[in-house]
């Protein structure tokens, strides 16, 4: 599991790659928080999920945790390009009502 970033003005993209479950969540959390802490002035943070090959409810907990952190910084969080199975997990969990999909 790894994360790469792209910054354009005050927009920050995080590109997640790999499988997001109990085994990888702690590593993902550290990697994402390190990037978020480097860019506290980002007003829009977009998590691109096109490289996520598997995600379960542990991934939902991870995303909601980052949403709270970004909110504390005064930013907004969005989700982008989940595959069909991640999209189903996100829809069933009602995540899009908190973190909109672009």
């Amino acid at each position: 599991m790894q994360i790469t970033k792209r910054l354009a003005g005050r927009k920050l993209w995080l590109y997640l790659e790999g499988e997001l479950d109990e085994c990888t969540a702690a590593q993902m959390r550290r990697a994402a928080d390190e990037i978020l802490d480097e860019h506290p002035l980002a007003r829009e943070v977009i998590f691109n999920l096109s490289g996520v090959r598997f995600m379960d409810s542990t991934g939902i907990g991870f995303l909601i945790g980052r949403y709270k952190k970004i909110q504390r910084f005064g930013g907004k969080m969005y989700l982008e390009d989940p595959d069909l199975s991640a999209d189903k997990v996100l829809s069933v969990s009602g995540v899009y009502s908190l973190i909109p999909k672009l």
Binding site: E19, D21, E22, C23, A25, R29, F54, M55, D56, S57, T58, I60, G61, F62, I64, G65, L84, S85, K88, V89, V92, S93
Partner: protein, 145 residues
């Protein structure tokens, strides 16, 4: 014909990927489509996470995984010998979690129920929990044919 498999693994998160893929591979003779395979893998991952995080609280233990294929249905039983669930009815509610400080979504059981066609939880305090799930493979295809 009924086909069975049974395996045991340690309750460590490294075994999640093994558990969900082992069950998915066992289901392959039913020729599930990608969406059905993904549903099965997600439901198994949720049940196994519960064993590791809740039943054994990260202290280790053994997870039992039993599967059977009967006609077009895959049956899965995931069991632990952990602490058990004090209130199963509460645990089944969406967003319910006993670990609110750990970024838990409380959606594990809801996802299992939504993604599988059959679902049941039996639990006894300090004895363990058994989650039984089933999925009829190709059910949607027949309806659309």
């Amino acid at each position: 014909m009924v086909n069975h498999m049974r395996l045991e693994c340690d309750a460590v998160s490294e075994n999640e990927v093994f558990a969900r893929n082992a069950v998915a591979l066992f289901a392959l003779p039913l020729e599930p489509d990608l969406a059905e395979l993904s549903d099965i893998k997600t439901a198994v991952s949720e049940a196994v996470t519960n064993c590791i995080v809740h039943a054994y609280r990260g202290q280790g233990g053994t997870i039992g995984i039993e599967c059977a294929i009967e006609k077009r249905t895959l049956h899965i039983k995931i069991s632990d010998k952990g602490r058990g669930i004090p209130d199963v009815e509460a645990a089944l509610r969406p967003f319910f979690t006993t670990l609110p400080g750990e970024e838990r979504s409380g959606m594990g059981f809801t996802i299992m129920q939504t993604f599988m066609s059959g679902f049941k939880v039996e639990s006894a305090l300090d004895k363990g929990t058994v989650v039984s799930m089933s999925k009829a493979i190709g059910a949607g295809k027949k309806e659309n044919a």
